[in-house]
């Protein structure tokens, strides 16, 4: 139970974002789905909530939508505290993974529903419905039933339906998960374009890191109900704050080591590890490791490891290798741009990478 003071109200209203989440928490009987989530989203920004299933991203979204009551914390939109407000009064648009179109209404009526609820005059509503349907390129399908449309078309209807009411915030709950790979790419671009064009603030929940990186302005990585890192896609990928983020966003090789005095010893080499002491995990992305059969110049400033190829796979664009080095199996890959042949297992190789591609985390 929260006893709000006017002062707290003021403080909340002064949050930096258009959408501010303050200490948002959802507890169930035996576990906490979302734990003390704090986030600011600027107007017109597209933010992705990324994480494995059960990380709390969908629960967070549903708390923002008002479909799940928050156990504690606040949701503030444009200075207005929406905590405890019924979903139908929040003026948000939500696009579901399952589309959730009204099966008994045609497309036009589906799209018009929100306007009807807002008692928009008939003529204006008709015009806006027409525009919204045109926006998602479904003109001519107005009188089809949802069941007569493909999955992609249905999702576009859902998008039009959510957007036609000009919601303050657009919420997208894994909107592309039910689509096949090719359609997913198309829709992703389309959603991004429309969102940019309308300048609408949007939250996009996904478990697909590629989707998150490519579509949004900002990524929120969540795990076990807690926020792991917030940042631009570039920050998240290049500077993962935690081992979890490093492992979840992109592939990773992990080498156990030990740190003391600002450096870590791992597999016979020394990497910079300021501020660490004790066991650490050193991580390097596979494609940042360069595989060479000959010697590597020692003065190139690269970290180096010698090993043996244990498995080699031809994958078209690239060659995938598994290399045993210092008792650890490491993944790496080589380009086929020069028509290189696949190395046979057992070939002795050297792996080298730039020091700035090395991430160090406390051992898990």
């Amino acid at each position: 139970m929260i006893h709000a003071e006017p002062t707290e109200m003021t403080r909340l209203a002064q949050g930096q974002g258009f959408l501010s989440l303050r200490g948002l928490t959802r507890r169930y009987d035996h576990f906490t789905a979302v734990d003390d989530l704090n986030l600011d989203v600027a107007k017109g920004e597209l933010v992705a909530f990324l994480g494995p299933s059960g990380c709390g991203k969908t629960t967070s979204l549903r708390m923002i939508a008002g479909l799940v009551p928050a156990s504690s914390g606040h949701i503030v939109v444009d200075g207005r505290d929406l905590t405890g407000v019924a979903p139908y009064k929040r003026d948000m648009g939500l696009v579901f993974q399952s589309y959730a179109l009204f099966p008994h209404m045609d497309i036009a009526r589906n799209v018009a529903f929100g306007l009807e609820m807002r008692k928009v005059p008939k003529a204006e509503a008709a015009q806006r419905v027409k525009e919204a349907i045109a926006m998602v390129r479904l003109t001519g399908r107005e009188h089809h039933r949802p069941a007569q449309l493909s999955g992609g078309q249905q999702q576009r209807v859902a998008l039009a339906r959510a957007l036609v009411v000009r919601p303050s915030i657009l919420l997208l709950d894994e909107p592309l998960s039910n689509l096949d790979a090719k359609l997913r790419d198309e829709m992703r671009t389309e959603i991004r374009d429309i969102q940019k064009r309308l300048g609408i603030t949007a939250i996009f929940v996904t478990h697909d890191q590629m989707e998150a990186l490519t579509i949004c302005d900002k990524v929120v990585v969540m795990n076990h109900g807690r926020l792991e890192q917030v940042g631009t896609p570039h920050e998240i990928y290049e500077h993962p704050k935690t081992a979890f983020v490093a492992g979840f966003v992109g592939r990773i090789n992990r080498l156990p080591g030990r740190a003391s005095g600002g450096v870590a010893q791992v597999a016979g080499i020394t990497v910079s590890a300021p501020g660490f002491d004790g066991p650490v995990d050193v991580m390097v992305r596979p494609h940042r490791m360069i595989l060479s059969t000959g010697p590597v110049p020692a003065d190139a400033g690269l970290h180096q490891l010698s090993g043996t190829v244990t498995r080699a796979t031809f994958a078209g664009d690239i060659l995938e290798y598994e290399v045993e080095a210092a008792g650890t199996l490491l993944k790496t890959e080589a380009s086929t741009r020069g028509g290189e042949a696949l190395l046979a297992p057992g070939t002795p190789v050297t792996l080298s990478w730039r020091p700035q591609d090395t991430f160090v985390y406390p051992a898990s």
């Binding site: 929260i2 006893h3 709000a4 905590t83 405890g84 019924a86 009064k89």
Partner: protein
Amino acid sequence: MTSLALSHTEPRRLGPLGTASALLLPIAVVNAIGFLWPVVNLLKMSFREAQASGALGAGYNLDTWTNALTDSFTLELITNSVGVSLLITVLTLIASYPIALYLHRSTGTWRTVLMVLVVAPLLTSAVVRTYGWIAILSDRGLVANALMALGMAEPPRLMFNLTGVVIGLTEILMPYMILALLSGFGRLDPRLEEAALTLGASPLKTFWRVVLPLTAPGMALGGLLCFVLAISSFVTPKLLGGGRVFLLATEIYDQAIVTLNWPLAAALSMIVLVVFGISLTLYARALRRIA
């Protein structure tokens, strides 16, 4: 509710629990007046004092129960009813199994047509169907006339006896059994049979070892359903029995409406409920063994 929210939410009149209670109130009233109270009252009635003229005494005693349970007539009635109901259940199962299996394997429009043929009798009044059986089984009915046309001088008596009741009830309960079997056939993937056949089992062996065990839960459910319906059925034994077939249900009706011994009728009803409870327990046990 947080007081923060007050500027945007109107005060709720009812909490979710209050709303639920309000929505459930009508059915609770109907259930209490039309079910709970009458059943409790029925139990009470079985202990009321019965007088010779059929009127009710004011007091309560165990006479009805002691008389009923020590009376060979009542005991025979119970064993008879259970025996006849078991017989009907087995016959219904035998008659329904081929239909259910065939239905399970048919598809499309044909399946819909067959389903209509199964469901339509279910939804047709038992009186209508019993009347149909009178037309078939009576002395001037279809079977008797056909047999006489074939030269049989004295066709067997098929009505006004147990035979007629068993035939009629078996048919009347078949749709229940078929639907119960079908719901249990969900587990019967035809690929399993194909697998068994490719593994070298003969069709008969496949049926015995694969099909039958997989359909056992459906058979148990159908068996329970038909047994309970058979032991409580009354219209068909009354119309086809010619006053010579005595089952618990017909006896309850006679005691309640004709002989006017309400305490005895109530006690017999309780006995039906006990039989019902026992069969339910056996069913649960059988199901656990199968599963």
